[in-house]
């Protein structure tokens, strides 16, 4: 067993437990976005950051990728963590203002302003869909491609993948949630290219050969119209 301090509380967990799992087990709310129980831990969204303190030194790590170790002193909600987390949510909100999940996070963590340019992207590049595709669905169709400015989620060579079974797992798990895939070659390949280049939020009814896991459909719930900028 690993013994350490979590928000001042002496806790113990089994070896191999992440700090996130430990925090959730002991009832401390730590927000996540790119984390999913059924998928491997990625550590991309950085929402689940916690502060490790040791004497005068402090370090911030993502709790979903950090394994619990003896004698750690972990704080899930320190001043520093909260401040940085708010900046993360603020930038997320500016990037994908239509995401219900991000809107909820903003409301929960009191993010009331967006100081950077508001965009209308539909993807957080959190990689949940790619892990869903390969780890749960054995689809091996989509992945993170490129880096820096060219980073995106797509299929190989931006073409319809031979291995994709149109299972819709990627859509089911997407936190940006308007993912209704309209690929770059909609006219040629049809509406489902599994490129996740979700540009518009169309209605699922149009796609007969797709399984929809959304119940209730978040898109339907909030309507197909994107919130106008003035709401922010």
């Amino acid at each position: 067993m690993i013994k350490f301090k979590l928000n001042g509380l002496e806790v113990q967990v089994e070896e191999g437990t992440t700090l996130l799992e430990a925090a959730h087990f002991y009832g401390f709310p730590v927000p996540t976005l790119c984390y999913h129980e059924g998928l491997s831990n990625w550590g991309g969204c950085r929402l689940c950051i916690v502060e490790l303190k040791q004497g005068n030194q402090s370090r911030i790590v993502s709790s979903c990728t950090y394994l619990a170790q003896n004698d750690l002193n972990v704080f899930t909600n320190s001043e520093k963590v909260v401040k940085i987390r708010k900046t993360i949510i603020e930038t997320m909100l500016a990037t994908v203002p239509t995401s219900k999940i991000v809107q909820d996070l903003a409301s929960k963590y009191g993010v009331h302003r967006v100081r950077v340019a508001v965009e209308n992207k539909d993807c957080l590049l959190c990689g949940l869909c790619t892990r869903m595709c390969i780890e749960q669905m054995d689809g091996k169709a989509i992945g993170l491609v490129g880096r820096g400015d060219s980073l995106k989620i797509t299929t190989a060579f931006d073409k319809r993948s031979d291995t994709c079974r149109l299972c819709g797992g990627c859509i089911y798990i997407c936190p940006a949630c308007q993912i209704r895939c309209i690929g770059p070659n909609i006219e040629k390949d049809g509406p489902i290219c599994n490129a996740c280049a979700n540009l518009e939020p169309p209605c699922l009814d149009q796609f007969e050969n797709m399984m929809c896991y959304m119940d209730p459909c978040v898109a339907c719930e909030i309507g197909t119209e994107k919130p106008v900028k003035s709401k922010l």
Partner: protein, 160 residues
């Protein structure tokens, strides 16, 4: 590339995942780009999902997924070159060839790329064409350098 050549590259690099980057480098150096067919072959042969190979190939800067021109121009944008004025030189080449960095001229003569430091910082700004270094370049030298590789300068319009 022929399947036998590809197979040889695979075998020379251990026919396993560990050698994948070396294999891609070999293909890149022979054909100047990575074609979909070649990647598909590697994907089948090594049982690596095509999307993984595509992810690797697109992650590293030295790989290209589109065919490149006969002459490859690299403009160094390292810090030392930057403070000595590499950007105006890049822009000048872009204007002269009428392409942006990363593109190839329609006649397939030139591909223009940027690189983040060639390690010859003392001689900045540096332009590298087909492996040959041009140190201490300036905007005035650009036409001259390009002409050595078959660039034909437009006749300057008469100024009044």
């Amino acid at each position: 590339m022929e399947a036998t050549q590809l197979e040889q590259i695979v075998l020379e690099n251990g026919a396993s995942r560990n050698g994948i980057i070396a294999m891609l480098q070999e293909i890149q150096s022979r054909e100047n780009y990575l074609s979909e067919d070649n990647l598909s072959y590697l994907s089948d042969r090594l049982d690596i999902p095509l999307i993984d190979l595509y992810g690797i190939a697109s992650f590293y800067k030295s790989f290209s997924m589109t065919p490149v021109g006969d002459n490859i121009i690299h403009v160094c944008l390292g810090t030392a070159c930057h403070v000595r004025g590499a950007e105006p030189i890049l822009e000048e080449i872009e204007r002269k060839l009428d392409i942006k960095a990363g593109e190839t001229t329609p006649d397939n003569k030139f591909t223009l790329k940027t690189v983040n430091c060639l390690g010859a910082c003392a001689l900045g700004p540096i332009v590298l064409i087909n492996g040959r270094y041009f140190g201490n370049t300036s905007m005035q030298k650009v036409t001259d350098i390009l002409q050595q590789y078959g660039y034909i300068a437009e006749v300057a319009p008469e100024t009044t």
